[in-house]
Amino acid sequence: MRRSFEIVLVLAAAVAFAFLLLPLAALFLRIPPAELAAQLGSEQAREALLVSLKTSLIAHVVILGIGTPVAYLLGTRAFRGRSLLVALVELPLVLPPAVAGLGLLAAFGRRGLLGDSLEAFGIGLPFSQAAVVLAIVFVASPFYVRQAIVAFASLDRALLDAARTLGASPFRTFGRVALPLAAPGLAAGSSLAFARGLGEFGATIIFAGSFPGVTRTAPLAIYAELDRNFDAALAIGALLVVISATLLLAVRLLTSWAFFASTSPSPSVASSSS
């Protein structure tokens, strides 16, 4: 009886992993590696990768710059409506990306809520590179902010208090104590957000369109090349797999590092011998 149960578990795992790995392997196996590399040298591929890199990096700076203080606020303060705000931060996680793009268009588009005001300043967001950045920020930020809230919330509050009584301003307390101690968690969230941003498709294509060299990111280029040059699409896809896998690996390493680094002088250790 027990043995057959084990067999069921192992079979399920075998099916699951085969299903996960087969498409990934196919990306690399359909054409020889040399051809794959050559395809990446094409004008379209290079352009798309450049757009992706640029927009993802800018979006990431925005996510870290605004997301970190927001996460610190939500992670270390107790106030009415806090859990509502946390839920709001996480909303893009469950929102279909296409809906996110639609919402961005309805808000910032030429005939959107803020379209007139933006136009008055000569700003036209939709179908620009800035729109790509906004789409990525909207969709990818929860991956960072969510993890950062957890990282800040799990800080020992006595350490923050100690810094203050030692003469540190709130800014210095944040920089010298909170940030370094939360760093492993922040880095893990940051990697996930970057990976998610790099793969952004739905919100981007609706809000920013797919103009080569401007808004056509790597995922959009895959879609565009699908009918024209399947090998080029494969090559870009393979590269994205490599980047994503590297980031995921980095996250795993960072989280295990965070686990070991958190062996701070805990009261339980000290009092267990008394």
Binding site: D161, A162, G167, P180
Partner: protein, 343 residues
């Protein structure tokens, strides 16, 4: 010379913390049960919580004054706070922990507290006693006007505790700052402080030296905290002028004090004698029971028999060859049974 004067109130969950104190260049202990508001009092002085009203001032500065809307943030109060469990920064070395708030003189402090050779280690690599010294060095490094210690010995095991206690006493004397130590342990308070304030449910119930608190406890709680035995029962006057108190278990205690009805009885441990057989002597009270614990305290031994704790010299305990679980008789005089209004 510096001083700290505070007079404030602060609403806590189930009671109001009301504290009025003046601390000179001395060590004052706030002792009391956990949840009495002791730590909150320290946090209020340090600026980590804000009282509802009142004043907190030191030598030349007002740190808090609700009437004039003054409430300095913690970093602008010249205060050294040693946290319970020490709150050392786990990501910094001993050296950098101590240097965190320091103007200078870090090396001198490391030397003075005997932690110079630990300078390169992280807190996780230190023993409890070492952490305590690092925490004290870190608090002193800021050259504070006021020193606050929150349960500085609670995180230590019993063996380390006795040694660190006398060490800490020396360091506090040397620092010569107005110091408040919060502790739930009367022995710690007595060892470290010049005066002890007993805080119960946010109110100071008594303030005095350790001897004063033990000799004349204002309330049964102070008596118990100070280490005296506290029994309770129903008292009735006897024709001979003595009072007989019947304990809940049926045992009778005779007291020279006069009392009737529900009363508390305070018996100091050093007024209780321990014998193997019921002695024929002048004492009025003899209670037989088994030895529940034998705890050495310096050159004395605390012997717990039933509800009573006797304190006898280690030499006597050895001569009698007392063993756990052994049946003995504890005795005390009617004049050693001090009646007090029941709790």
């Amino acid at each position: 010379m510096g001083f700290l004067r505070l007079d404030f109130s602060l609403a806590l969950r189930s009671f109001e913390l009301e504290l009025e104190l003046e601390v000179g260049a001395e060590t004052l202990a706030l002792a009391g049960p956990s949840g009495a508001g002791k730590s909150t009092a320290l946090r209020a002085v340090a600026g980590l919580v804000e009282p509802d009203r009142g004043r907190i001032e030191t030598g030349g500065e007002t740190w808090f004054d609700s009437e004039h809307g003054i409430a300095l943030p913690p970093e602008r109060r010249s205060v050294g706070l040693v946290f319970q469990d020490y709150a050392l920064f786990p990501h910094l070395t001993v050296q950098r922990n101590v240097a965190f708030g320091a103007g200078g003189g870090v090396q001198a402090l490391l030397d003075q507290l005997g932690i110079a050779e630990l300078a390169g280690l992280r807190p996780a690599e230190l023993s409890g006693g070492e952490r305590q010294r690092v925490a004290l060095a870190r608090a002193l490094a800021r050259e504070p006007d006021i020193l606050l210690l929150d349960e500085p010995l609670a995180a230590l095991d019993a063996q380390t505790r006795a040694r660190v206690r006398s060490e800490l006493r020396g360091h506090l004397r040397k620092a010569g700052l107005p110091t408040i130590v919060v502790t739930h342990d009367f022995a710690d308070a007595a060892a470290l402080a010049d005066r002890i304030g007993v805080l119960v449910n946010g109110k100071l119930v008594q303030m005095g030296t350790a001897v004063e608190l033990i000799a004349a406890p204002a309330t049964p709680f102070v008596a118990e905290l100070a280490g005296s035995n506290l029994l309770s029962g129903t008292a009735a006057l006897r024709p001979d002028g003595l009072t007989e108190v019947v304990l809940p278990g049926g045992a009778r205690v005779v007291s020279a004090d006069r009392g009737e009805g529900e009363v508390g009885i305070i018996v100091y441990p050093w007024e209780i004698a321990v014998a193997r057989e019921q002695p024929v002597d002048s004492m009025q009270n003899h209670i037989r029971g088994e030895i529940a614990s034998l705890v050495p305290v310096g050159n004395r031994v605390r012997v717990k028999v039933g509800e009573l704790t006797a304190e006898i010299t280690a030499a006597s305990a050895e001569r009698l060859g007392l063993q756990l679980g052994e049946s003995v008789v504890v005795s005390f005089k009617a004049t050693g049974a001090h009646l007090t209004p029941s709790a």
